[in-house]
C-alpha cells in the first residue's frame, strides 16, 4: 500500500534521519579517502602496481559496498599490494545489481575506475546527439 501524501510527508524526515545515520560511517570514510587522495597521494606520485590504485579502489569499494564490506575489500587489497605481487588490473567486486545506464547517476570514482565502459557510453551519447 502506498502511503497517503500526508503520511508520506510525516514519515519522510524520520526516514531521512535514519538514512543519514545509516550512511554516516560510509560518508565519513568517503570524506577521509577523498581528502587523502587530494592531499597525501600527490606527495608520492603513482606507486601502486594495480589499476585502480589502492586509494581509488578503497573509495569505490566504500562508495558502492558501504563502510563495513567496502572497508574489508579495501583492507584485503592493501595486503595484496606488495613488491612480490606483479600487480595489473584488479577491479572492485561488483555488487549484486549494477545500474550504469545513466552515467550522470554513477559516482565519479566508479566512472574513473571503469573508464572503458563510460568512455563508450560517452561516445554513444555524443553520436546520438550528432545524429
Amino acid at each position: 500500500m502506498t502511503p497517503s501524501p500526508t503520511e508520506y510527508r510525516a514519515r519522510r524526515p524520520m526516514a531521512a534521519v535514519v538514512r543519514f545515520f545509516w550512511h554516516l560511517p560510509r560518508n565519513i570514510l568517503i570524506i577521509v579517502l577523498k581528502l587523502y587522495r587530494r592531499v597525501v597521494s600527490p606527495t608520492y606520485g603513482q606507486v601502486c602496481r594495480f589499476f585502480p590504485s589502492c586509494s581509488a579502489y578503497a573509495l569505490e569499494a566504500v562508495t558502492v559496498h558501504g563502510a563495513v564490506k567496502g572497508g574489508w575489500f579495501a583492507a584485503r587489497r592493501i595486503v595484496r599490494c606488495h613488491p612480490w605481487n606483479s600487480g595489473g588490473l584488479d577491479p572492485v567486486p561488483s555488487p549484486a545489481t549494477v545500474d550504469w545506464d545513466d552515467p550522470s547517476m554513477v559516482p565519479m570514482i566508479v566512472q574513473l575506475n571503469h573508464p572503458h565502459v563510460f568512455l563508450a557510453k560517452q561516445q554513444e551519447t555524443q553520436s546520438r546527439n550528432a545524429a
Partner: protein, 320 residues
C-alpha cells in the same frame, strides 16, 4: 595498550635496540655515554640501518624500470592511441591499459607503497620512543630495549645545548623556550626542505622519461614541491629534536641515493640516461641492455611515417 601500541610494540623494541647497539658501540670506542653527540650518532646509525635494509627493494624497482624497455614499442602505440586526449576518463583508460601491458610483460615499474609504508611504523615508534623519554624517566621506566639508566641519560642528553627530547612548539606553549632548540629546529627544517627540493628537482629535470614528463606524474611531482615543505614545517615545530635528526638524516640519504641513481642507474629515456650512455660510449663500454638496439630501431620506425622528428629539437633544447 591500544591497537596502535600493540602493532608498534615490536617496532619500538627494534628501534630502541638498534639505537642502544650503536650507543654501546660508540661508548666502547671511547665516546662519552651521557653525551648528546653519542645519542645523536646512534639515531643517525638507526637511519643508516633502516635505509640500507631498504636498498634491495629500491634496486628491485630500478631493475623493473629497466625491464620497461622491452615494452616500449607497445607503449608508444598506446600513447599514440590516446594522443591529445586529456579528459580524465581517457587518462584513466590509458592508465588501465598501461597496467594491463605491464602485467602482460610481467614487469611493473611501481614498487607498491611498501617501501614507504614500511618506514612509517619505524618513524612512529621512534617518535614514541623519543617523545616518551621524559615521562619514562619520571616514572623510572625503560622504553623497549632501553634500560631506565639509558632513558635517564637520553633525557639529559643535549646537542649544541638543545635537549634531544625537547620540541619547539611544546616548549613555546610551556613558556620555557630554549634558544638552541629553536635554532636547531629551524636549521633542520630548512635542511629537510632544501634536500627535498634538490631531490625533486633532480628527478624532474634529469631522471624522468619524456613520456612521464608530459603525464599526470609530473603534476604530482610539482605538487610535492609545495606540499612537503609544509609538512616539514608543521612537523618540524612539533617533533622533538631527536625525531628531527632522524628525519633530516633520512632526507639527506634520499638525496644521496638519488644522485647515485641518476649517475649510475638512470631511468631509460630520461636526459640522465642519454648522458650515461654517452659516458659509456666515451669509455668504450658497450651500451646498456642487449635489447637496447632493437628497441631503438623500433622507436625510430614509428615517428617516421608521421613525420615527427623530435630528435633535432631535443638537441637544441639541451644546449640552452
Amino acid at each position: 595498550m591500544g591497537f596502535f601500541d600493540t602493532i608498534l610494540f615490536p617496532f619500538k623494541w627494534l628501534v630502541s635496540w638498534i639505537m642502544v647497539q650503536f650507543h654501546d658501540g660508540l661508548t666502547f670506542l671511547g665516546m662519552d655515554a651521557a653525551s648528546g653527540v653519542t645519542w645523536t650518532l646512534s639515531i643517525i646509525g638507526l637511519v643508516l640501518v633502516i635505509r640500507a635494509a631498504l636498498i634491495p627493494v629500491f634496486v628491485k624497482q630500478i631493475k623493473a624500470q629497466r625491464g620497461m624497455q622491452a615494452l616500449q614499442p607497445d607503449m608508444k602505440k598506446l600513447q599514440a592511441k590516446y594522443k591529445g586526449k586529456t579528459d580524465q576518463l581517457s587518462r584513466q583508460a590509458m592508465g588501465q591499459e598501461q597496467m594491463a601491458l605491464y602485467k602482460e610483460h610481467g614487469t611493473n615499474p611501481f614498487s607498491a607503497c611498501l617501501p614507504m609504508l614500511i618506514q612509517m611504523p619505524f618513524f612512529f615508534s621512534l617518535f614514541q620512543v623519543l617523545s616518551g623519554v621524559a615521562k619514562a624517566n619520571a616514572d623510572s621506566d625503560g622504553i623497549g630495549a632501553m634500560t631506565h639508566d639509558q632513558v635517564a641519560q637520553f633525557d639529559q642528553a643535549t646537542i649544541f645545548g638543545a635537549p634531544l627530547s625537547a620540541a619547539f612548539l611544546p616548549q613555546l606553549q610551556g613558556g620555557d623556550l630554549n634558544v638552541a632548540v629553536v635554532w636547531l629546529s629551524i636549521i633542520m627544517i630548512l635542511a629537510m626542505i632544501a634536500s627535498q627540493f634538490i631531490t625533486q628537482k633532480q628527478i624532474m629535470s634529469k631522471n624522468m622519461s619524456e613520456e612521464a614528463m608530459q603525464g599526470p606524474f609530473m603534476k604530482q611531482q610539482k605538487m610535492m614541491l609545495y606540499v612537503l615543505p609544509l609538512v616539514f614545517g608543521i612537523g618540524g615545530v612539533n617533533f622533538p629534536i631527536g625525531v628531527l635528526i632522524y628525519w633530516t638524516t633520512t632526507n639527506i640519504w634520499t638525496m644521496g641515493q638519488q644522485f647515485f641513481v641518476i649517475r649510475r642507474m638512470p631511468t631509460p629515456g630520461s636526459p640522465a640516461y642519454k648522458e650515461y650512455q654517452k659516458r659509456r660510449e666515451a669509455k668504450g663500454l658497450p651500451l646498456l641492455g642487449a635489447s637496447k638496439k632493437k628497441v631503438e630501431e623500433v622507436v625510430e620506425e614509428i615517428p617516421e611515417p608521421k613525420g615527427q622528428r623530435s630528435q633535432p629539437q631535443r638537441k637544441n633544447r639541451k644546449k640552452k
